[in-house]
């Protein structure tokens, strides 16, 4: 195996493998996880690819320790990632809140599977969309990206690292068994064409007692360990220098608001969508693997003369409400497509319903992607 970070070339590659390649291309040096279907190929590939480039994958005793180790490694200055599926995210939830609280850059890949509970491990559904945002306790913001192809498993993993490092926040890749196990063409560019970001850190030699390493809406420099910054890192309510405060409610208010505002303030830069609804009266809104069926249905509908467009959400959290509103203002009918019982639908509806009719179309069987013919029937129905 070559010790190169970036394996430039054109491949027929599985989504999960492309994700691992993306992580290494982004500069990931540390990964910890626990075996779980349908995410195992990412862990397996990282275990093979990381050591020759000086990193390592560690198989932990559970997902709780996997995310804990990732957070620890991130504070040690490493770009770090964990890979899992829904049950693993459930176990990680407390420590994901910890990562948010102490502003730790890390990437969390969730290759979603049939749920709730043990569910159906090899079947992809989009069942953990809201969990990613609200799984841990308290008000907080994370970033979540939804790839819809193996190429995007590669590209979005790099974007996820860059967002994590820029905003000091956990960034989720919300894939599913369908996209994770899909094999398709993946193009890996030259290393110099891949943009990678590393977190801001305080200037070397800074007086450690005045470093403001936390709670800035403009993202504070991270006082990573081992550099003499004497970082005081606690997930209890704290101030800008990290000092714990367990009695002042204004301090709590600032702690809560700043963590959220840090992401919301930069929502425009974080939001990625794919718009194809110029002149459309009916717009299909979807994300992830389902967007492939939406694109096909839209193209067929246009052939039949229906004015149909699509809006694909790539960034699902922070929720791109402005994009929904902009689209709904131009549309008459919005059809939301998800491979679940309607997890993002209430959010989309809340921003679109003032301007357009909004409806939801689940797949006939949750666990299958919508048949483009079913989407076409729905389009004919709303076009009446």
């Amino acid at each position: 195996m070559s010790g190169k970070r970036v394996h430039t070339g054109r491949y027929f590659m599985m989504g999960n493998v492309a994700c691992a390649e993306g992580a290494i291309a982004a500069g990931c040096e540390f990964s910890a996880g626990y075996p779980i279907t349908p995410a195992t190929e990412i862990a397996n590939h990282l275990a093979e690819r990381l050591p020759p480039v000086g990193g390592a994958f560690f198989q932990m005793e559970d997902e709780i320790s996997a995310i804990a180790a990732v957070i620890g490694a991130s504070w040690a200055g490493k770009k770090a990632m964990t890979v899992t599926s829904g049950p693993g995210i459930s176990l990680m939830s407390e420590n994901i809140g910890f990562a948010v609280s102490v502003e730790t850059p890390c990437v969390i890949v969730n290759v979603q599977r049939g749920a709730p509970s043990t569910g159906m491990p090899t079947i992809g559904i989009q069942g953990d969309m809201v969990q990613a945002k609200y799984g841990s306790h308290g008000d907080y913001e994370i970033i979540a990206l939804c790839p819809s192809s193996p190429q995007e498993m590669f590209d979005h993993t790099i974007t996820a690292f860059n967002y994590a490092e820029t905003y000091r926040v956990p960034v989720f890749i919300l894939s599913d068994a369908f996209v994770g196990h899909m094999r398709e063409e993946v193009i890996i560019p030259e290393p110099e064409k891949i943009e990678t970001v590393y977190r801001k850190i305080p200037e070397q030699g800074s007086d450690p007692y005045i470093i403001k390493g936390f709670l800035s809406e403009d993202v504070a420099p991270m006082p990573i360990f081992g550099r003499g910054f004497k970082a005081n890192v606690t997930s209890s309510c704290h101030d800008e220098v990290g000092k714990r405060n367990l009695i002042d409610i204004p301090a709590l208010d600032k702690y809560i608001r700043t963590l959220s505002n840090k992401i919301l303030k930069h929502k425009e830069e974080i939001t990625l969508v794919e718009r194809d609804y110029e002149g459309a009266e009916i717009v299909l809104v979807s994300y992830g693997g389902v967007a492939r069926a939406a694109a096909m249905a839209a193209s067929k509908a246009r052939e039949e003369g229906f004015p149909v467009g699509t809006l694909r959400l790539i960034t699902v959290w922070p929720f791109p409400g402005e994009e929904i509103e902009k689209m709904a203002k131009k549309a008459k009918h919005v059809i939301v497509l998800e491979n679940n019982l309607g997890q993002m639908y209430p959010y989309i509806k809340a921003d679109a319903a003032h301007f357009a009719e909004v409806s939801f179309l689940p797949p006939r069987l949750v666990g299958e992607i919508q048949d483009p013919e079913d989407i076409l029937s729905k389009i004919r129905e709303v076009a009446k």
């Binding site: 050591p51 620890g72 490694a73 490493k78 420590n95 081992g226 004497k230």
Partner: protein, 278 residues
């Protein structure tokens, strides 16, 4: 007239004006023992990263120590420390937490990292009770003791030998002392810091407020005297029957062995993966 400053004060974070420990708590002795060990080895706080969990003892390094400190979630400090150590192999990583944190909610991380034999120091302040939350029974609370969640007395068997658990899991250094043995404890911490492997130190400590007062077992001094009286060496323990050993605290460096350490093994793997020799 010049101000008198404690020689270990330079190890305390300047913004800290007081600690959170109750009068008579054993954690103060553990603080001193750790700092004396670091001082005695001629090391500085910047040589360390401290990691703690939740509970009274977790407040020993956080925010007290003037170093990089990661105060984590309940039960998980060893798992966080694993990531820190892998990212900063040249730093000493020390976990300081209590029996509830390390042995109850975090028990699996304790035994799995002892098994891995990852180089870190884990100091467990074992006071046999959940102090911070108000005196609830812990897995280390002796059977029959009345606590706030066991008003009729605990009805479960207790962990009587936490160190034994860690030895069985494969740690390369394990020592146990009580807070009545501060000098011996300091010496063992020195050895633990220098150990290339998982080093665990159990400190039998007194909680006069939530344990002593509620259980009627006495004051801080009374509890320390009791711990000291019940302490025996490994040599003394060998000559006792299991019956005679009951209630005794076996103190000393219980295990000090050499075995493969995970960081060194990972480095060999990296070399091998690069096409070099193991």
């Amino acid at each position: 007239m010049s101000e008198i400053v404690h020689p270990l004060h330079r190890f305390i974070r300047p913004s800290v004006t007081h600690n959170s420990f109750c009068a008579g708590c054993g954690d103060g002795i553990i603080v001193q023992s750790i700092l004396r060990a670091i001082d005695g080895l001629g090391m500085e706080m910047d040589d360390f990263v401290f990691v703690s969990g939740i509970g009274c003892a977790a407040w020993i390094p956080s925010p007290l120590f003037d170093a990089d400190v990661l105060h984590t979630t309940h039960g998980r400090p060893i798992a966080f420390a694993f990531g820190v150590k892998m990212g900063l192999p040249d730093k000493k990583v020390m976990v300081v937490s209590g029996d509830g944190d390390l042995v109850a909610i975090g028990g699996n991380h304790l035994i799995q990292n002892a098994r891995r034999n990852v180089e870190m120091v884990v100091i467990c302040s074992n006071n046999g009770i959940y102090g911070m939350t108000g005196g609830q029974a812990a897995p280390t609370t002796p059977m029959g003791v009345k606590t706030t969640t066991t008003p009729y007395g605990t009805y479960e068997n207790a962990f009587e030998d936490v160190s034994g658990l860690v030895i069985a899991a494969g740690a390369s250094f394990v020592a146990r002392w009580t807070t009545a043995h501060p000098k011996q404890l300091t010496n063992s911490i020195k050895k633990a810091i220098q150990k290339k492997g998982f080093a665990f130190i159990e400190v039998i400590s007194q909680c006069p407020i939530q344990f002593g007062r509620k259980t009627g077992l006495g004051s801080a001094v009374g509890m320390m005297e009791d711990h000291k009286k019940r302490s025996i060496t490994m040599k003394e323990a060998k000559n006792l029957s299991p019956e005679e050993r009951r209630g005794k605290i076996v103190v000393g460096d219980l295990v000090d062995i050499e075995k493969p350490e995970v960081l060194q093994e990972v480095n060999k793997i990296k070399n091998k993966a690069r096409g070099g020799v193991e």
